[in-house]
């Protein structure tokens, strides 16, 4: 073994003609919670999608535990943005979580009792087991987010990608996500999280990746999450951060 969970080399991505990511290279250490931070349009989600092969790369290489992603599908779990799907779909929470098992099942095979069991356990881990039979459009935003997390847990992966899991969720869900992230870390799993809220970065993440088209900085949160680095990443937009008293204290803590 000894392979890093994720190695990205010279990754460049463009949406049609407009380049979004330029020559991004990094190597992720095992068993860490990593926040991907950057302004809107910095390419945070694009980075995740390109790594997962959901959008084409202009060039670059992605290795998951030393091999191309296509050969390591079962080692990777993914939580897309909640708004990316229509929740008025005729299905219930348990069924959505069960979709996390589909990769293991492969073609044509239907989920069985063992998959149902795994899905129920995953729902339980996010505190949603009593909503298993609930139609998904009847769930609150936070509950929908937790269903998505449970689906990723049901994938039983080693390396997780989460696209803005904290956006638009209630306090209970935020707490549930945090304890879940720490559980995953305890199990030696690696999690990359696209994150927006600068004030919580130092509390949540071991490492931080600052992104704005280019990779601005990446490393231990204490070393990287500095005012100077944020200034470089956010450009003129950082003034918002400074005026916010809460963020100011957070920066001071460092």
């Amino acid at each position: 073994m000894g392979h890093s969970p994720l190695v990205v080399r010279d990754l460049s991505v463009a949406y049609q003609k407009k380049p979004v990511l330029f020559d991004v290279s990094f190597e992720v250490p095992e068993g860490k919670l990593i926040g991907i931070i950057g302004p809107n349009g910095a390419g945070k989600s694009t980075l995740i999608k390109a790594v997962l092969g959901l959008i084409p790369k202009l060039r670059g290489e992605v290795l998951v535990y030393g091999k191309p992603y296509k050969q390591q599908l079962l080692k990777v779990g993914y939580v897309p943005q909640r708004e990316s799907v229509d929740w008025d779909f005729p299905t219930n929470a348990l069924d959505v979580v069960m979709m996390g098992r589909y990769g293991r099942l492969g073609w044509f095979k239907r989920p069985g009792a063992a998959d149902r069991q795994a899905a129920m356990e995953s729902l339980d881990k996010v505190g949603m087991s009593k909503f298993a039979d609930r139609q998904i459009s009847q769930l609150s935003g936070g509950q929908q987010q937790r269903v998505f997390l449970a689906r990723a847990l049901a994938q039983d992966a080693q390396l997780y990608f989460m696209d803005e899991p904290f956006v638009g969720v209630d306090a209970a869900t935020e707490k549930a996500i945090i304890s879940l992230l720490n559980d995953l870390k305890q199990q030696g799993k690696t999690v990359l999280v696209v994150h927006h809220d600068l004030s919580t970065v130092t509390d949540y993440f071991d490492q931080v990746m600052l992104l704005n088209g280019h990779l601005m900085a990446f490393g231990e949160t204490a070393d990287i999450f500095t005012e100077g680095n944020l200034q470089r990443t956010y450009g003129g937009r950082l003034s918002i951060l400074k005026t916010g008293s809460e963020s100011g204290t957070i920066l001071g803590v460092r």
């Binding site: 799907v85 005729p90 299905t91 589909y102 990769g103 239907r110 936070g142 209970a172």
Partner: protein, 309 residues
């Protein structure tokens, strides 16, 4: 009543009936996935685009063979989908406008070819104008056999790929992340639609097929919150439309079967819209009324337990 019994015991009629039921069944099943993927309009476009394909196939082969039509319609469908995605990608045109534009161009071209064929006087072109609205009465035993085979294939593929189609419909990004080839599955669904459209040419015609693909699915969505049930219901509603259209058409004064099938499907939709539990208009009105009542009694002020989370 006696005429109905006589009708149903007439073997020729039985074949037509069976053909229309099978057609409604399979188009209802496939249409469900199209509807859930928000590609109802795409189904419409594919149905219209099939016309020039079928005409060209006839001009080349000179025969009315189902298989030739299918290839022609499939090629035309592929060209149409490419045209739609190219228009959306390389211009500022949004997909709904692109679909509308491509649909009308293909259909116009198809009508032109149809006129050309009819004026060519090849002799065996009679009945080709029925491609537009179909002519179920002209169905012969071999047509029914072909339709039976097509239905079995279409429904079989939907059963086989049920899990994959479900995932693709709900969350294509996640499907791709799991390693399922979302693009290929998408094309497979399109192909199934084209096959269903061609199968329906004889009975209801290309234009009416679009309605048979979508209306049963929309109706079925009203009755259930389970995908499996919805797909079955949609098939059932499609079959009812096929059955109803055929029976009414043979009872009445030579009314065309295809449009009657579509009207039957619309009646089913109307009933669903109004009477369906939970999603129907009556049930929604009752829920609103109860909510207002409980609010007046002060019960509504209590937040529901799950909302508090």
């Amino acid at each position: 009543m006696t005429s109905l019994v006589a009708l149903l015991t007439d073997p020729n009629m039985q074949w037509i009936l069976l053909g229309c039921i099978l057609l409604g069944l399979s188009s209802g099943v496939i249409g469900s996935f199209m509807y859930l993927r928000k590609q109802s309009l795409m189904g419409d476009a594919l149905a219209h685009a099939a016309l020039p394909g079928v005409c060209v196939a006839f001009m080349i082969t000179g025969t009315k063979s189902m298989f030739g039509f299918m290839i022609g319609a499939a090629i035309a469908g592929i060209v149409a989908t490419f045209a739609i995605s190219a228009l959306t990608r390389y211009s500022r045109i949004k997909s709904d406008s692109a679909i509308a534009a491509v649909l009308s161009v293909f259909f116009g071209f198809g009508i032109m070819l149809l006129t050309e064929i009819q004026h060519s006087g090849a002799g065996n072109q009679s009945g080709l104008d029925k491609f537009l609205f179909g002519q179920a009465a002209a169905m012969v035993l071999s047509d029914v056999y072909t339709m039976a085979v097509i239905s079995v294939v279409l429904i079989g593929i939907c059963i086989l790929f049920f899990k994959e189609f479900k995932l693709l419909s709900f969350d294509p990004g996640f499907a791709r992340g799991l390693g399922f080839p979302a693009g290929l599955l998408d094309k497979l669904l399109m192909l199934l639609i084209v096959i269903a459209v061609v199968a329906g040419i004889q009975a209801v015609g290309v234009i009416m097929m679009a309605a048979l693909l979508i209306t049963p699915a929309v109706s079925a969505r009203y009755w259930t919150e389970k995908l499996g049930v919805m797909v079955c219901l949609s098939g059932l509603f499609g079959a009812i439309a096929g059955l109803g259209g055929t029976v009414i058409s043979s009872l009445g004064q030579n009314l065309p079967t295809g449009p009657l099938c579509v009207l039957c499907a619309t009646v089913v939709f109307g009933v669903s819209l109004i009477f369906a539990p939970q999603r129907g208009m009556i049930s929604k009105a009752i829920v609103r009324l109860n909510a207002r009542k409980s609010l007046e009694q002060g019960v509504g002020a209590q937040p529901r337990e799950e909302r508090a989370l």
